[in-house]
Amino acid sequence: MGIGNRTFGNTPAWIAALLLLALVAAAPLYAGVYTVILMISVLMYMVIAVSWAFFSGPTGYISLASAAFFGTGIYTSAIFGMVLPMPLVILLGALASSGLALLVGAITLRLKGIYFVMFTFGLVELMLNFILWWEVTISGTTGRVVPPMSNQTVFYSMLGILVVLVLVVFFVRRSTYGLALQSIGENEEAAAHSGVHVTAIKITTYAVSAFFMGAAGAVMATRWTYIDPKIAFNPLICFMPVLMAIFGGMRPLFGPIIGAAIFTYLEQYLITRFPYYYMLIFGAIMVVSILYMPEGLLGLVQKIRIRIREKQHANS
């Protein structure tokens, strides 16, 4: 599976990935406005899905707090977008998000299994309702305007975030830190006994994953230009990355990327073609993909490959 391997040796996969990146990066030059806007959403979901899988994939802690981190980035952009230059705003959004993740991580990561899931989802709803109340009663507004950036700037910022994220994930996975992270998912107690700083590693990874979600949120706010708590803390953002990562396959680095591309395109396609049945079809696809592809698309491809190889083996 190309980059998923433990060696640098798989050159064709690298060349293919770089070519694809060049093709995507040049998109504003040859593609129409609609395509660029669609690609911004695709890139946004890729960032969220890859960051989600970076933490939840190896550790097995299912976090539904993505929308909280993403929304923190959005709100940072809305508050500081007018006064600070954009790169600083993005950095600030990312830092605010990872600060939140550090806090949440420090108090919750001893929660096991489903309690962690519930807590993270509760966090999103808490932030949504609190900010909603704050805006209505204290500040007297029902939404904020964010200074817009051109589609190209948004596109390249998002692409830049994704590239940095993929590199970070790639190198972390090959390091001893990555191995330690993996060992937490396999057996947390055994990992702790063999000298892995379980809590520190979990919290750091959680913060790194939130860092990129926050950055994506800060960029995305300038694309949407108007935001309110219901847009910023949309529960859909909690579930979509989970689904995308599972659909694509959690283990390979490219799994969540492929899942994000397919699901975002599918969502757009269904919304424009079947506006009345969009949710119905989308939900059915979710259920079916969980039923028949628990290992994800890449897992399915691998299974088919193995089967073909076995058949060839049997014939020879």
């Binding site: 097995g60 299912i62 108090i107 919750t108 929660l111 299994g113 489903i114 309690y115 899931v117 519930m118 807590f119 989802f121 509760g122 966090l123 709803e125 808490l126 309702n129 609190f130 909603l132 109340w133 209505v136 009663t137 529960p235 579930f239 989970v242 689904l243 599972i246 009345y276 049945y277 969009y278 949710m279 119905l280 989308f282 939900g283 059915a284 696809i285 979710m286 259920v287 969980i290 039923l291 628990p294």
Partner: protein
């Protein structure tokens, strides 16, 4: 003094509904191991079915409650027999099943909500039933809310007796403790788990029907009730019916007190309680 009584009683009325929906979710998660994110959608369906039966056929909502509950029981039972049983068998670990079934429920949430919008439109609906005032100790309430509370308490009581006194109830409790051993002891485990999921949907249907008698309903109301039910079962302890009842009443009281002080903050208060509780005592107020 009257306002104090007002707050307490309206809190209990709210709490009764919370309790019924939470008992359902508790059964689905505690025994069938499905964290049913779509629970609120079943509640919504129960509410709409009751509304539909009342406004179209003029069926008394207290009768429609049982009809919509039974319909939802069938839907839930079949869903578990097909979808969730398959997921359970193919999952490598119980943890994987919990994760996958939660995501499948998220898909179901989409499907059910869309079907409801297609059938009944996205508008807010409501009807008037037993809407005359009843007063006691100086506090005035509409009769439908008292009937709601009464029904909620009776439903919880009957359900509790069913689980603690009948053979089937014993099988369910055994399956909750250890599904594999229960299976070895002759409990038909797939059927019992499906029954639990179905009963959870039944309670959601009852809860939804009760909600429709005193509140407005709309197709996207589900998620809020799902979250409230989740909070209640954590408050009362997973899998405990008296716990859910007490948790529901407590949360209803909190909601009504906070609403009295600062109307916009009720949900915020619920989540604060929820998160503090998860951190301090995830086994619930009655847990050991």
């Amino acid at each position: 003094m009257v306002t104090f009584l007002d707050i307490i009683i309206s809190g209990l009325l709210l709490g009764g509904i919370y309790a019924v929906t939470a008992v359902g979710l508790s059964l689905q998660y505690g025994v069938a191991r499905v964290l049913n994110i779509a629970h609120g959608e079943f509640i919504m369906l129960g509410a709409f079915l009751t509304w539909f039966l009342f406004t179209t056929f003029g069926i008394n909502p207290l009768v429609a409650l049982f009809i919509s509950g039974l319909i939802l029981f069938g839907v839930g039972f079949l869903l578990y027999r097909t979808l969730f049983t398959r997921l359970r068998i193919s999952a490598e670990t119980p943890g994987a099943f919990e994760g996958n079934s939660m995501l499948a429920c998220f898909g179901l949430l989409f499907i059910i909500q869309n079907v409801a919008i297609l059938c009944w439109g996205a508008d807010i609906k409501g009807y008037s039933f037993l809407a005359f005032p009843v007063s006691f100790w100086g506090a005035k309430f509409s009769a439908n809310r008292l009937v709601t509370l009464l029904f909620a308490l009776v439903i919880c009581l009957v359900f509790y007796l069913f689980l603690s006194k009948t053979r089937l109830g014993k099988a369910i409790r055994a399956a909750a403790q250890d599904p594999e051993t229960a299976g070895l002891m002759g409990v038909r485990i797939n059927r019992v788990l499906a029954l639990c999921y179905g009963l959870g949907a039944l309670m959601a249907g009852f809860g939804g029907a009760l909600i429709s008698m005193s509140y407005n309903i709309h197709p996207t109301m589900g998620l809020e009730y799902t979250m409230i039910a989740l909070i209640v079962i954590v408050l009362g302890g997973l899998g405990s019916i008296p716990g859910s009842l007490i948790g529901g009443l407590v949360l209803g009281l909190v909601g009504s007190i906070v609403t009295h002080v600062e109307p916009g903050l009720a949900l915020v208060a619920y989540y604060v309680i929820f998160m503090v509780l998860l951190l301090v005592k995830p086994s619930g107020i009655l847990g050991k």
